[in-house]
Symmetry: C2
Subunit: 308 residues, 2 copies
Amino acid sequence: MTPQRILVVGSVALDSIRTPYGEAREALGGSASYFSCSASHFAPVSVVAVVGEDFPETHRQLFAERGIDLSGLEAAPGRTFRWRGEYMAELGHAHTLETQLNVFAEFHPKLTDVHRRIPYVFLANIDPDLQLEVLSQVRKPRLVLSDTMNYWIARKPDRVLEVLRRVDVALLNEEEARALAGETHLTRAAESLLAAGAHAVIIKKGEHGASFHSREERFLTPAYPVKALTDPTGAGDSFAGGFMGLLARTDRNDGEALRQAMACGTAMASMAIEAFSPARLADTTAREIEGRVRELHELVHYDLFPMF
Amino acid sequence: MTPQRILVVGSVALDSIRTPYGEAREALGGSASYFSCSASHFAPVSVVAVVGEDFPETHRQLFAERGIDLSGLEAAPGRTFRWRGEYMAELGHAHTLETQLNVFAEFHPKLTDVHRRIPYVFLANIDPDLQLEVLSQVRKPRLVLSDTMNYWIARKPDRVLEVLRRVDVALLNEEEARALAGETHLTRAAESLLAAGAHAVIIKKGEHGASFHSREERFLTPAYPVKALTDPTGAGDSFAGGFMGLLARTDRNDGEALRQAMACGTAMASMAIEAFSPARLADTTAREIEGRVRELHELVHYDLFPMF
């Protein structure tokens, strides 16, 4: 098994977050941060993103300790992207208090020759036009995974759909799938996105797990029953990291690998939400990941016996 | 395999229902009706319930065709229990327009000697005091399953908990589990009910499936991805019928049987909601049930491979 390298293009941010369980100020955040800390347990990862001159050295250190390649992390004049938000008791939705795009406002990912040839690519939640710019730069990747958010679905639905058609797997949460498909019923929403040209979609349903839909495969993974929920931020990107991580590690995309990849994504998301920032993710071990994947398997596994 | 007989004590009603997909007037309804039509595909069923003098012969016929024992169906002077309700687009909640308890208001289940000795017992959603009356009459049943609703949890929480402690498995939907446990987080709610003395609880989560919790077992079953959703009425009782049906049919209560029983419950619930009244349930076949149970198994089944 030779793990294949993964490229992530997304955001690196400083998050200030309050939840019913505590708060964090100027903690490491951003889709590329959660994704890369998660995926790096499975395969080598290169980050393409931008930070400002004020980006703390300690955060760079955290990436370095995980062996994450930061040669694509541009340091631009100005301040790092900042997000301030809070979660109420239900924890389903972040309430954004302030977004300072700062250096992220002018971000246009420019891939080096080395980055262009990385075989596994994650297009984190950024403007779909930027995602398409990345797609025009990469050279025959083996698997591309994309993420998006309601903000882009409301503003650029055609561009979001264009990305969906050009990637191998698209990640959406329940709300996003419903909004993009114009269909409340989730199974029908997934089918309508496949009919619109998507090759495969994963619908993330928070505490209700996630489902994978393609023409060949339909599969459900329950959420890991987390007890110490602290901060939901980064759950989706951590899921993406575990999902793509397993595929890149095994260099497989068959049904069995996709199913285990969903469990890996679920396990990584469960750890992300047990603490603020990706620190908990960075600190986990192969042993702990394997333990959670095994627990998830036991939650649903059984052998059918004849009954009639 | 000698299927064991099942006793259900609950309601037989006439339902008038409107959903976004159609409507039914004075259709056969009630927990005992859905449960018995569902369970009768797995094992013989006896119903203890009450109807009025106006109960249509055609409905009796439907039970008879399924071989359901109606010797415990009391015909009391007066009118049959009627319920009128509607579901909005979301279909999650019934909006009750009218409840006429009629003969059901004075119902006190009186079990014959034959009924008292039936080994599998389902206490459908009735006043917990009536459920306790039934428990005082039955003679060492092998497995008792109970259901309840928010109405009783709000009015008689101690009696509902008393029932929970005295049965083998208690069925609750998400809201009921949260209300009874006083805990939003579902995994914690289940654990708190076990700590309060329940032996096992099943939490029904509608389109998000169902979970089984006991000290020995924890298990999740996804919902069957129904496309032709028509009327959610009776989903819970149909689930109970498939769940208890498989256990009574196999006379087993080990982990593997409980897991397949959850899938049988899920399959039966999926059929119940594809039509008004239990007619669709009555008409299904072993072949169709087996097909859905197999599909559910495929939705979650995979073999783990080593990854680290």
